[in-house]
Symmetry: D2
Subunit: 444 residues, 4 copies
């Protein structure tokens, strides 16, 4: 079984279109609009807008002005104005549902669709630029491969629609917004869309990992908390009245150094990053405002919690030092969740034999953070099985760098193998003696 | 002698129009355009655009994109498109020249016209907001009174045009751009416009100094160097590959703290301010770029030089610490220049008796920095006399704060007193036995 | 088999005597003297003084004045003056050798004997203080259990001497100086004393690990580099001439923060500690000298090297920032070395059945650093087998704290089990088909 | 009038003896003992020990162990054991009183006698070392010329004793301890010894100021607060348990940087110095204790207060950052006090004509801090006149450096001129119509 050349070509076309119109978290108006249009064409039902999200559980949504500007931009770039309006205050993303009408399990896939806040390299050594599909949007770039994920999701929707008659049960494909910053999963989970899922697979393209190497149960993700810090001091003329100021930038600079100096934890890996610092209004004015965008991580949720608690002390102490106010806002979070070990042999079997697959491992994977863990956790709580699959690529630049590019050959590998996951799901779950199609008690 | 009520009213109208359309240094397209139009109407000759500036001596000019955007904005806000085009790449400001055709001295005034990079307070306690003339431009606000300076300049041009028949010699009024950041004077001086000046007076409204109190020879200005620092490191995923990054923000934060910690100087006042720090692209990316906007000051040029030299060491050391590149660009500078002591009694006499003037002192003034010192220096080098006048206001908020507002009553004080300066200039210079109208050897 | 009560009592007596006379690395004059005297009494040969060490490979030896003072102190506290003189410039430690005269393997044990630079708690809640055997030496305390190690070594020497007739081959017991700071092993290894060893066992008491729990092959040790930094600036009167100083303390403080902020490594655990900072001469003098005592660690030698390289950049950059000189001196180092897996079942068998032993594991152990790895490495290079054994204790305070105390019950566990190691060594090595008694090719 | 050669020689002998036996503040046991012996020999009454000081007003007294050790040292270096015992817990210094028995004013001189905490240069380029009178005491050095001050005081006592018959009223000479750190004056003032003084003169040798140049009314001193900070965190093994520590050194390093970064004050000169930082016990232990010795200064007491208040915020914030305890103890302070302008012409007249005197100015002087201001303040409050005299030297190295040395020629200048001050005091005070010999109302 191999995909038709036309579909393989279409995967690349979709991916490059998404790449060129990169949209950061909660502003995926055009991307979502395009996906909805394809799904509808294929006969999938779609859930989007406020229906998709429990509003109170959304994290890290941009300001209303930003959303308004981005909606306009999206429409100018070809998004359907009605759909964009329906997504309103950043209710982006879409859930595609394919009901077969036949009794069977609920199999769910997750593909994330948002871009990074990166400035893409504009240099002929970078293929997207050389071949004319680099991002046209300022400071937005697909530096993590979600453009490819979205394309795999559409490819999977296509082949499933074509073979709908061979399927039983229900297939759900969630095109998730705002994975960067681990913000977007929580409100979709809270809205209940994962409560009836029997089998859940999240998918990620992984660079620098050997072309075609597969991880069936990625377990390396770190727990993480994303937070913003705002310091508010008092401005003053730096020449005439320096003593009247209360310098928010000095507080922010001190906090930055001391945040990075939080002691390592003997229990396992920890991380901290002040990714953005923005402070001050003019060269000759004592800075009265500073904003930091920070994240902590930990190999376990406990280690992440340790980092976050220490970080809050550092942030508060820096404000105390300079006699200024501060505010900390959590804008994203991810816990750890292990893949269901019962599921991994099945996933392995589905990838084995797919053209382009090289080695298959059952654990490993990158040390980033993922809010798909919230979906995995909910599926497991409701009695389903869940895992996270990595598809390896042999690329020379890491994720989240201005030179990142994916290996488009791997798109078909994802589509084909995940089609097999759907085709055999009912039989596999029967073999475990699991009552699918309805919630079962969680595994221990 | 008092100004006609109509002109007094017009001073306020001009000032509020400039205030509402605040334009930072080198982007004073609309302000310059409006001034040129008034000067032309009054019969003054005008010099503007590239003719006004020695291009190679311009400091701290914004990037071409910024200038293009600002030109568009200025036109949208009513600037004459032809004049704006003539100002092209930020050749803003205008020199008005009134030739009387009669032999006599060259008397020159300087008024600066640019705004600060401040966000104006939008609150009814702030008169410009309450009365509807707060700045309509984002992050641009007249927080230093240059809107008032420009209005005084136009008022002076008006009364001089009306009384042209009583005058001899030449009057020049320079409406200078980019005083904030001490950037704009150098290229006008380098173009030679001050080489023939016999008497030079710069003017500044001073807050918190007692309504109507005058300083005839402001000598408190600090020497200053304005510079930008750009750090360039290496980005990396903060969770997956932190060790592969080279963190430009850590370098910038360390530099900021250590810059502020440069030792005080026993020889007199020194200052340092990192007014702006902007670093990083995304929360989960090791920041690969950081930009600092910095200034040093000193009570003498030597002390400022000490600060700047130490600052360069700090900046370079922070780069070395984190294994990254750095670049330092000087974007503004001011030296110290003492007023001509011979001139002060005359200036005093011209302010005495003007309605609204309270106490008059011959020295003092604020501890900011001024590039008018470059004009003063050049005038003195060429044998002329030069001073810097402060006009006191009783305001409750300092310069360069988001609540700054001027006392509009002082505009007429400036116009009236400086008219007197022109009227008596020839006689005063004669009384000193000075050959005016042509260069004389510099005073010791 | 159980130890005679008299010997068990003697183990405690020895340990408490060493505890009361704690001696930091390279100053173990009294401890070494006492050990030599016991060994001689038992009939062991002893190697000590410059013969024991390759001088050029010694790391982190204190200054001559310190050694002179410590020699005097040791003699005042009962050390044999002749032995102390023989140890001269810090050539402490002793190798005991028991030649059976019968063909057989060379079995070697290592016990470290130095104390920490800690101030012991003087409080009745701390048993050594309450029972009168707290350290009498200022800022020297056995906070790592080496007092217990030395006692186990003497106990083992005692039982081996008593049962010499049952033994074959050679037994070596190295009482190693200066393990703290991973300084003392290198020069003994370089002198060749491990080149003929067939089986090597290092021993450590481990707190907080469950009473009697044994690790036969401790593999958690981190590679480490210990280094001193000296910054030399220029002193000046802080009130009168602050600008003339070059502040070594500001450099040291900046370095300290940035050292702790060196990014974590995705490849495994890393550590950094500025354990001591000492700077300045007087409150009103700009500090012209600062000394830092620093260590880096890594889960692999590569990670440690990464930390050390980054640390050198930080240290150099801080000097550049403040215009001062700096010097970095390496005073200790440890690499990683895995235990010989073939040896672990034998070690397990020797501990099994010893009264007081609870659970036995074959890997694990603390994340400190150990220079016994240098001995292990050399033994393995020369064809021998090597491991590192941990003996667990259920104590409430961690190593290197001012409240540390050992569980003296564990001393006998060590003596008894390690006696069994010697008794069965020849047979075990024969069972592996190893040619012992002479070097064999290294294992892969 | 010139001093006899023998006395001139004796001045140098005294000075070199004091130099060789430098004693920091509150440990001047030997220096005080030697001075008392000379004064007694000359027939002066002496007040010393607890009688001289109001105990509760003493600042910055060393710990009891230090005092005990220093008393022992002083006796070993020739101090009178009875006198040393009388000085007990650091009640050093002595007041010499010469009662003439004749009605007249109380004229008082102050000479400070303590050394700095400096390590003297041991190099032949440094005269005290080359000529064998460098300090024999570790980390104690006369780096501020107080050895010379004490010698001038003894010289003055000698000539006054010789000419007692020509004098009227009372002469007091206070040999003050602990001027370094501005600690010693307060408790002597509080004990009332200055309440009856009509004329007060403090004296200081000033380097780098031109040989023989005199300042009659030194007014450049800065207000100052001296304080110690102790941070107490939690120790932990830096390899095994880094997350369990609370790092006092990180807090201290952060505090140090941010203390030096406290904004300059537009009202005048400010200073800050963290002169000493001492932290940590061992390289591999997270530092649980850090001590900082800090001072702030200001051109006015208000500016100093501003610095001290900001400093306390910084210190507290750094503790908050790292979750540790902190304590701030004030150990010294000095305010500003202007010299009595009425007195200066008289002082000028007394120095004029003295051999060795060059230029005389009435104001100026160094920007250090002085607790003699507390004496000046008290004398003025009680109706007396007070000033502070500088005697210039042409030396190449500044105060408080390891190479400092005085110009011994200036000792005689001080003795001779100040003898004249006593001889003419009654007549001068009469000429002002001042009721001397009893308190008069303070001058405005």
């Amino acid at each position: 079984m191999t995909l038709p050349a036309e579909l393989t070509q279409q995967l690349t076309t979709w991916r490059r279109d998404f790449h060129a119109h990169a949209e950061p978290g909660w502003t995926e108006f055009r991307t979502t609009s395009a996906i909805i249009e394809v799904l509808r064409e294929l006969g999938w039902e779609t859930v989007y807008g406020p229906e998709l999200h429990e509003d109170s559980a959304r994290l890290g949504v941009p300001a209303a002005e930003v959303l308004a500007r981005e909606r306009e931009r999206a429409v100018a770039q070809g998004a359907d104005p009605e759909l964009v309006e329906a997504m309103g205050e950043g209710f982006t993303g879409v859930l595609g549902v394919l009901e077969t009408g036949r009794q069977g399990p609920v199999v769910c896939f997750r593909f994330d669709i948002d871009s990074n806040d990166l400035v893409e390299l504009r240099d002929d050594s970078h293929r997207p630029y050389a071949e004319g599909f680099a991002s046209v949007n300022d400071a937005a770039m697909h530096g993590c491969g979600h453009d490819g994920h979205a394309a795999i999701g559409l490819g999977l929707a296509t082949v499933l629609a074509e073979r709908k008659d061979e399927l039983s049960g229900t297939v759900k494909i969630i095109f998730q917004p705002a994975e960067e910053g681990v913000r977007g999963a929580h409100s979709i989970v809270a809205a209940g869309w994962f409560d009836d899922v029997d089998m859940f697979v999240a998918t990620h393209l992984k660079s620098n990992d050997g072309k075609g190497n597969i991880v069936t149960g990625s377990d390396g993700y770190l727990a993480s908390t994303k937070f913003d810090v705002v310091y508010t001091g008092i401005g003053a003329h730096a020449g005439g009245d320096p003593e009247k100021g209360r310098n928010a930038l000095l507080a922010a600079a001190t906090a930055t150094l001391n945040l990075h100096a939080i002691p390592r934890h003997s229990g396992g890996a920890s991380r901290i990053n002040v990714g953005v610092l923005s402070a001050g209004e003019g060269r000759n004015v004592v800075p009265r405002r500073a904003v930091l965008r920070v994240e902590t991580r930990g190999q376990s949720s406990e280690i992440n919690e340790y980092m976050f608690e220490r970080a809050k002390d550092v942030v508060a102490g820096a404000a105390r030092m300079h006699g200024i106010e501060h505010e900390v806002t959590v804008v994203g979070r991810a816990d750890q969740e292990a893949p269901s070990s019962q599921l991994l042999p099945y996933i392995r079997a589905c990838f084995e034999g797919t053209p382009g697959v090289a080695e298959i491992r059952d654990s490993g994977g990158p040390a980033g953070s993922e809010d798909a863990t919230a979906m995995m956790k909910r599926v497991k709580e409701c009695g389903g099985l869940a895992t996270y699959v990595q598809i390896g690529m042999d690329t020379s630049w890491g994720h989240h760098t201005e030179r990142f590019d994916i290996d488009e050959d791997m798109l078909a590998v994802g589509v084909e193998s995940e089609l097999k996951i759907v085709l055999g799901a009912a039989e596999f779950l029967d073999s475990l003696g699991r009552d699918h199609g309805e919630p079962v008690p969680p595994e221990a």
